[in-house]
């Protein structure tokens, strides 16, 4: 079945220069293997589309049931150079939770 990521995870995002970081955390650690399988760097890059000019890198933190994504070139120059309303990528953590993922019923 297809579900929105936000059903099993929450997230927070912030900036590092022209890079946004998006941390995705499962509510229940049983679901960590699901996000590890489904929420790949490629999927995140695809989800944000033209908002991310560079590549997306993923780091795993299984001890926290979390994944950390770095979105290069996603903040219009970053810091004081950016002309974006969300120059720090503060809202990316909400946007990522709209991603649709495939999950078997018994995994939920």
């Amino acid at each position: 079945m297809r579900i929105e990521l936000g059903r099993i995870a929450h997230a927070r995002s912030g900036d590092k220069g022209d890079m946004a970081n998006v941390g995705v955390i499962v509510y229940d650690e049983r679901h960590y293997p699901v996000i590890e399988r489904e929420v790949t760097a490629e999927r995140v890059k695809q989800h944000f589309g033209a908002l991310v000019e560079g590549s997306v890198k993923r780091y795993e933190l299984p001890n926290l049931g979390a994944l950390n994504f770095l979105l290069e070139g996603s903040l219009g120059g970053g810091g004081t150079l950016s002309l974006r309303v969300d120059a720090q990528g503060k809202t990316f953590g909400a946007a990522v939770l709209r991603m649709e993922i495939d999950v078997a019923e018994e995994e939920l």
Binding site: R12, G17, G49, A50, T80, L83, K90
Partner: protein
């Protein structure tokens, strides 16, 4: 066990927070994080205009407000409020509170030494672009090395009630009292990593006590009286994150996990001047109401280089907005954007960047958003930046005329043409550790 509370996540954070922390319950150390990267250039400008300024001006009046309380309870304060003039900040505190012992930590400010350092071949290359600082030397406003927790601990050892530093790391503010009280040494990497991660959790103030938290946010109690974070640190490196009873907000493992992930890069290599902390070693569990416990943290040796944060002027920018109402609000705003661009083109004006967003129609989330069919209104937001101030000035005249000479139902032009602002850009670099010599002094 010692209690370390953070009452300020940035300069401009809630003024009542540090007062509430010392009034509402037990605290041993109050730390205050005032400095963002951009802040250093602001305080540098203030110091150029007045040599007695150049620090976080909120800080001395705050200390005056809580002076009696911190003396009664023997609470000690550690803050990076010094900006580019810690000594002037300390003198102002002494003027307001002659009974307090105030120590300064100096040596982070390398702006006065830049030419000498560049002359010796210390290039301060931009960590992102690789360019040497020489390329923008005449436009540099400030340059500071991030110093770690040990100079702050040295300042605590003088018996000071208040320690005023300049550009130290945010995490060092929390780690310093642990080093001071527990006698941790410079190669106890696991302990230093634990204190560093504790500092990372609290450095943004209430962002680890329920602020900006996505987890069931509507049920988070009493935001109006949100409690700011307190670290209960143990000598073995384990610690709890909590807040005063009776305050608002919420602390649980999910809230703390969100903050652990905030502005994180490689979780195995969180680099500070004190150690390299490994976030994949953290063991975290709920430990009662509004209380989370962290153990098992590992770390590695500190790096041979220190990070430098320099700022320099990099052209001009302006951002203007107009609001268009239903019907066809998005189409009207898009038409207005095309008109502005056409008029700028006919004027022969070019910019380094020209960026348009439609607020209410997917500006924050871009392609990840699902836009509403025909929203009640949208805000057109056009920004330009470039090196030519006159071109940016001219752009600011191009929005308001649209109210009369463009698509219908434009409003929300507010205060008229938008202001033109000089851009102060950030230049991250590295410097060999031995270049930076810190000094601690009790200010009379």
């Amino acid at each position: 066990m010692i209690r370390i509370a953070n009452g300020q996540g940035f300069w401009g954070d809630w003024l009542e927070a540090p007062v509430r922390l010392v009034e509402d319950g037990p605290v041993d150390y109050l730390i205050l994080d005032y400095l963002a990267e951009i802040t250093m250039s602001i305080v540098q400008k203030q110091k150029l205009e007045n040599p007695a300024l150049g620090y976080a001006r909120d800080f001395p009046p705050l200390i005056a407000r809580i002076a009696r309380r911190i003396r009664e309870r023997n609470i000690r304060v550690v803050a990076n409020a010094g900006g580019v003039n810690p000594r002037a900040c300390a003198r102002e505190i002494r003027r307001l509170c002659p009974d307090l012992r105030v120590a300064v930590v100096e040596g982070d400010d390398i702006y006065p030494r830049l030419d000498e350092m560049l002359g010796r071949g210390v290039e301060l290359r931009n960590m992102e672009t690789g360019a040497p600082l020489d390329q923008v030397r005449d436009r540099v406003l400030s340059a500071n090395a991030y110093i770690g927790a040990f100079p702050l601990a040295e300042a605590l050892a003088t018996g000071a009630d208040v320690v005023v530093a300049g550009r130290c790391t945010d995490t060092g503010l929390a780690l310093a009292p642990m080093i001071h009280r527990f006698g941790w040494t410079e190669t106890q990497w696991d302990l230093l990593a634990a204190g560093t991660i504790a500092g990372h959790i609290v450095e943004c103030g209430a962002q680890c006590t329920g602020g900006n938290c996505q987890v069931d946010w509507t049920s988070i109690p009493d935001f109006a009286n949100i409690g700011y974070p307190i670290i209960e640190a143990e000598p073995d490196g384990s610690f709890a994150i909590t807040k005063h009873p009776g305050t608002g907000g919420r602390i649980n493992s999910h809230v703390v996990k969100e903050q652990l992930l905030y502005e994180l890069g490689d979780p195995r290599a969180y680099i500070t001047p004190d150690c390299v902390a490994d976030f994949t070693s953290i063991r975290l569990s709920d430990d009662g109401p509004d209380r989370v416990r962290l153990t098992g943290i590992r770390g590695g040796p500190r790096p041979p280089m220190l990070k430098v944060s320099a700022s320099y002027t990099d052209g001009w920018k302006a951002i203007g907005t107009l609001v268009y109402s239903w019907p066809d609000a998005v189409a009207k705003a898009q038409a207005a954007d095309r008109i502005v661009r056409e008029r700028l083109r006919r004027l022969g004006l070019a910019f380094d960047a020209l960026h348009t967003e439609f607020l209410g129609a997917g500006a924050c989330h871009g392609p990840a958003a699902v836009p509403a069919a025909d929203p009640p209104e949208v805000q057109l937001r056009i920004g330009v930046r470039g090196q030519d101030r006159k071109a940016v000035e001219r752009f600011t005249r191009e929005l308001i005329p649209l109210v009369l000479n463009g698509p219908p139902t434009a409003t929300g032009f507010g205060d008229g043409k938008p202001p033109v602002r000089e851009i102060v850009a950030y230049w991250p670099a590295l410097v060999p550790r031995e270049e930076i010599v810190t000094r601690v002094e009790v200010v009379e």
